[in-house]
């Protein structure tokens, strides 16, 4: 059932030609490449931030336990909470960027190739 619908969507002659035209459009290649670059870049940021944090936990517990200034609050607390906030902030930045730029460009591209009904 699922397979039937899927092939139907891709193999209807005219549809397939229009899809190929989309894929051949230089704007499509540019948009997809830019989007992938942003995705990998942000993934790398959060991945290495977390791995770096874990390595600090493994190798230098004392540093994370060092108090900030005169108080008892340790360096590890803003770092850990900061990592949580970083995850939320990066997610928000990606969604804002995608909503503002990617969606509009993709919609324009699809409309040009006759997919306006699905571009919205």
């Amino acid at each position: 059932m699922a397979q039937g619908t899927k092939e139907g969507a891709l193999n209807d002659g005219p549809d397939e030609q229009r899809i190929a035209a989309v894929a051949a459009d230089p704007r499509y290649a540019r948009l997809v490449a830019r989007r992938a670059r942003l995705g990998w870049l942000l993934s790398a940021v959060i991945f290495f931030a977390f791995v770096g944090y874990l390595l600090l936990v493994a190798f230098d517990k004392a540093l994370l336990g060092m108090p900030i200034g005169q108080g008892v609050t340790s360096i590890g607390i803003p770092l850990g909470l900061g990592l949580i906030l970083l995850a939320i902030a990066l997610t928000g930045a990606y969604v804002a960027h995608a909503n503002r730029h990617h969606d509009a460009q993709m919609a324009a591209l699809l409309t040009d190739h006759g997919f306006q009904d699905r571009a919205a």
Binding site: G39, G76, Y94
Partner: protein
């Protein structure tokens, strides 16, 4: 059916305060007196959700209604439901208890559980929505021969869900014994019965609304707790931490430590402790949490309840925001418990440990802050949380059996929507019974390793298959099915050989695999075997698989031809 629902609700309510059953466990130090406020709150929650289930049942006709709530959930609603799926009672009670005991270590857990979400968004969310329909196997098997990849995905889903489910059921039983003063077996049966009702009759629509309500209650309750803790401390985190260090120092002094030792022990809660011992375990644990999130079948399934990729994206943003906020609250609640619970002898037993067991820190704090009524509220929310998570898990396992195994593998895509629905309901019944049985069987087991195993399996099997099938044109049917299986098996075997299972659970002496998490070996094992097997694959099918990539890619990127929001 309405009568049936009402009867079952009546039975579960009638069971609750049954003194004869409660008496069977008299003498166990851990049991609390029957908690009427909590029970009332819980009954109110269950009544509300059953009413929603009834409404949802009336609108559940097609397979799409059952699996994806008709695809009409908004990004905001779905984000809340995802957060609801993810914020289990284990993370609320477990993390706040860990902070109560060791301070800082709890924060490491929280960050690990959160960092998988951005990665899920950046690499997978939109493509998942564009390619998938009901289960993540739709995406993983998109351009491949259906039977092998679907079978792998279904087996993997059942494995991951089973371990997660056992942990939740055992947790539920123990919690209810503590919170409501009910016997373990009764608690497990109630959870099993209610979970079956939500899934059987309401499907994804009811399950989603149960998740949303639960998420709102949990976030509201936790916000109130954190706010009250901060109010006690003049809204100063520094004052909260300082007071907590002082409490721990005093406790160490009372324990007979020297002044220097006591000061040392007091300060230790502000730094990482023994939670992570060596770099290998640290990275391994991090990988399992980070990549496992993007491989959990019940989370991935939520991407198909929204109409398009844009709403899928918004879902993740809302989910990440709510979960992150929740973990920050949990951190404050844990430290608040040190200050307000750790100093109050009525919450402690003779030895200075928490009454009712180690996981009760947040529950006692609720009492310290808002008296019996708020204690009842938080207890009921904790129970509701388990119920909701268990329903979500069951639905994803039932979908794997009915949609991936039955409809696609056995019936070659020729099953009718009605047949598929019938099979998923039968599976739900079987799973409900199995969950109750496993819950009873594993009562005494350590559940923490089952959760970590579920994450390791998801990170080593599902995640590599999804990523490589989405992003690498050279991936083949054979590579995905066998490589994924190798990743899954590696994680499973290494976990069996790890200290938590080999030594602690089975008492077999020193563990052959010395690390607590398998992910650092099993995730690369999954990726490498998919890559290598695909590379060596010279079968005719491999050519078809590779030729299918460009079309898949265009559709994943653009959403052209994505399954519509609704079936009708």
């Amino acid at each position: 059916m309405t009568a049936w629902l009402a009867a079952l609700a009546a039975v579960s309510i009638a069971l609750l305060p049954l003194p004869a059953l409660a008496a069977a466990l008299e003498g166990e130090a851990q049991r609390q007196p029957v908690n009427w406020v909590a029970i009332l709150m819980f009954v109110a929650f269950v009544g509300l959700t059953l009413w929603i289930t009834k409404a949802a049942a009336a609108r559940t006709r097609t397979a799409s209604d059952f699996y994806t709530a008709g695809g009409g959930i908004s990004g905001f609603q779905n984000g809340l439901a995802m957060a609801g799926d993810y914020m289990s009672a284990a993370s609320f009670l477990g993390i706040s208890a860990q902070i109560f005991n060791d301070g800082y270590d709890g924060l490491i857990y929280s960050t690990g559980f959160l960092v998988g979400w951005p990665i899920l968004l950046f690499l997978m969310a939109e493509r998942l929505r564009n390619l998938g329909r009901f289960t993540f196997a739709d995406v993983a098997s998109y351009r491949f021969a259906q039977p092998p990849v679907r079978s792998f995905a279904a087996v993997s889903t059942l494995l991951v869900v089973s371990f997660y489910l056992i942990a939740q059921m055992v947790g539920a039983g123990q919690l209810i014994k503590l919170l409501f003063g009910l016997p373990y077996a009764v608690a497990v049966v109630i959870v099993g019965a209610l979970m079956m009702l939500y899934v059987l009759f309401g499907g994804m629509r009811a399950t989603t609304w149960v998740q949303i309500i639960k998420a709102v209650l949990l976030l509201g309750g936790a916000s109130f707790m954190a706010l009250m803790v901060l109010a006690h401390m003049g809204f100063s985190l520094e004052a909260l931490f300082a007071r907590a260090v002082e409490v721990k120092t005093q406790a160490a002094l009372a324990d007979g430590a020297t002044t220097a030792e006591a000061a040392e022990r007091g300060r230790s809660i502000m730094a990482p402790g023994n939670f992570i011992k060596d770099p290998v375990s640290a990275i391994s644990f991090g990988l399992a949490l980070m990549l496992g999130t993007a491989g959990l079948p019940h989370i991935l399934m939520r991407f198909f309840t929204v109409p398009d990729a844009k709403e899928a994206r918004k879902s993740v943003l809302w989910a990440t925001g709510w979960i992150g906020y929740f973990y920050i609250l949990t951190f404050i609640i844990g430290f608040g418990a040190i200050v307000l619970v750790g100093t109050e002898s009525s919450y402690l037993d003779g030895q200075g440990a928490l009454r009712g067991g180690g996981n009760m820190a947040a529950i006692h704090l609720a009492h310290a802050i808002g008296g019996n009524a708020f204690l009842g509220f938080i207890s009921a929310v904790a129970f509701a949380t388990i119920l909701a998570v268990v329903a979500g898990l069951t639905l994803s396992a039932a979908s794997a059996v009915s949609h991936d195994l039955y409809a696609t593998v056995f019936k070659h895509g020729q099953a009718s929507s009605a047949d598929e629905l019938r099979v998923s309901r039968l599976t739900t019944l079987a799973l409900g019974a199995l969950a109750v049985l496993l819950g009873l069987l594993f009562e005494k087991q350590n559940v923490a390793f089952m959760v970590s195993l579920a994450f390791a399996l998801a990170a080593s099997g599902n995640f590599p298959v999804l990523i490589l099938s989405l992003l690498w044109n050279g991936c083949t049917t054979r590579g995905a099915a066998w490589g994924g299986t190798i990743g899954l098996l590696t994680a499973f075997v290494l976990t069996l050989l790890s200290p938590a299972v080999w030594t602690t659970t089975f008492n077999l002496g020193p563990a052959p695999f010395p690390y607590s998490s398998a992910a650092i070996f099993s995730v690369p094992a999954g990726f490498l075997s998919i890559w290598l097997i695909s590379l060596l694959d010279r079968s005719p099918r491999a050519a078809v698989d590779k030729a299918g990539y460009p079309a898949q890619r265009v559709r994943a990127e653009t959403g052209i031809g994505a399954f519509a929001a609704s079936d009708h």
